[in-house]
Amino acid sequence: MSENSPQSLDKIQAPVGRTSLHALHLELGARMVPFAGYDMPLQYPAGIMTEHLHTRTRCGLFDVSHMGQVRLVPRSGAVRDAALALERLVPADIGGLAAGRQRYALLTDDNGGILDDLMVANLGDSLLVVVNAGCKVADVAHMNANLSDACEVEFLEDRALLALQGPEAEAVLSTLLPEAREMRFMDMRRFNLDGQELTVSRSGYTGEDGYEIGLPGSFADEFARRLLAIPGVLPIGLGARDSLRLEAGLCLYGSDLGLDTSPVEAALEWSIQKSRRAGGARAGGYPGATLIQNQLDQGAPRRRVGLRAEGRAPLRGGAPLFLPDAPGVEVGRVSSGAFGPSLQAPVAMGFLRADLAEPGTRLVSELRGRAVAVTVSAMPFVPATYKR
């Protein structure tokens, strides 16, 4: 047998990096794979299916320390100055982001493409930005080149990042950080635990309630072991992380987002708040603003949609999409797909001619030379359970 590689974990470079939890992964029996320059756990002995379902029903702990954490410290001392500076690079409203809150944003380029997607939190005295592993070096250079007049760009390479996700995440984290219980979805708070500074947000990449926890790398192993000792907590690898985010309708940079996708094509208009749109208080002013505003007004020629294929064989990234009565004419393409363990059915997302993007539209794809019926589906495929 051999693996043909239409999988989304294919952003592979030489495996040089190790996170602070590397030894723990090996001890837990993880199958390690190279991912974005790191040796990361694809799955633990429980397997992707069990890990996925466990996260939906109880609580999963993910090591996402390969991701980049960056602090933007305003030179003026006023966090709003850092926020307004960052607005030069993203179409999201950062100036209006209250202290203790977090927001999803996109780094755009001059062609309206997406350089990266990221989370931006207002820590009160600075901004905390979390970016994708594969983009982090370029992102830091980009921020240094464009924001240095207003902020100091601190690349927090010595900090780890864990995600605790699932319906029991609140009860689990509260045993160590009782006040985590009071947080709502997209809140961000600093905690002190045993003299260690933790940055905790109530957010994640699974569609479940949960937290992402930034902490010193030197404290990560001990903290992870304390969480894993709590009944109901299972370590979860990148395999289940991908199937969970796909069922939740969340984008993966490099598969669903990239330089050739605009925020409007990617159906991420909600990440461009009113203040940054035409007529808003701080309209435009980010790379690609003219093109993106144009698409906000008139729509884009193609749009990201959810896709459900008939049968059990998953469509993978790259599969073409056709109209049933015009099998020769490609109208779209799958960007990422997998088997959804919660749905016990294949799930995918892809980019489709905008006039066909309505849920319910019937399409055909091709899998190993055979036609497969596909239906455009609303996302998320599995309802989100965020604590709003």
Binding site: M1, Q7, I48, G239, S243, P314, A338
Partner: protein
């Protein structure tokens, strides 16, 4: 007792008393693939060239090809795998056989690795 041989692509082949060959994937392959969610098998009467891609195993993450270990004609495929593909994770070298085939040249079977040879091969990976 029917003899079982192995390929470097992690298939097993059992030569039955009636001269047909039963084909499946090894326990090692099953473990490497992880949770199997779908298996596409060759239909009866399909003629297979030696090494031809003839089945696909889909796990949550990826699709993997299975190659014909011998040249010949498919006699039947295993209907149990359509109903429950995860059977391959539980019993890859038993109940979860993929298909039975009529080899063109029964001598070709003897060129495959025996159990010891396959074990040694696995240790080189």
């Amino acid at each position: 007792m029917a003899e079982t041989r192995f390929t470097k692509d992690h298939e097993w082949v059992r030569l039955e008393d009636d001269g047909t060959a039963t084909v499946g994937i090894t326990d090692h392959a099953q473990q490497a693939l992880g949770d199997v969610v779908f298996i596409e098998l060759p239909d009866a009467d399909r003629e297979l060239a030696d090494g031809e891609s003839c089945a696909v195993v889909e796990s949550v993450k990826a699709a993997s090809d299975v190659y014909a270990p011998l040249a010949g004609t498919v006699v039947e495929n295993n209907p149990l795998l359509g109903e429950d593909p995860s059977l391959v994770n539980r019993d890859a070298e038993g109940e979860a056989w993929f298909f039975r085939m009529e080899p063109n040249d029964p001598e070709q079977f003897n060129e495959l690795m025996d159990a010891d040879g396959y074990q040694s091969f696995l240790e080189t990976l």
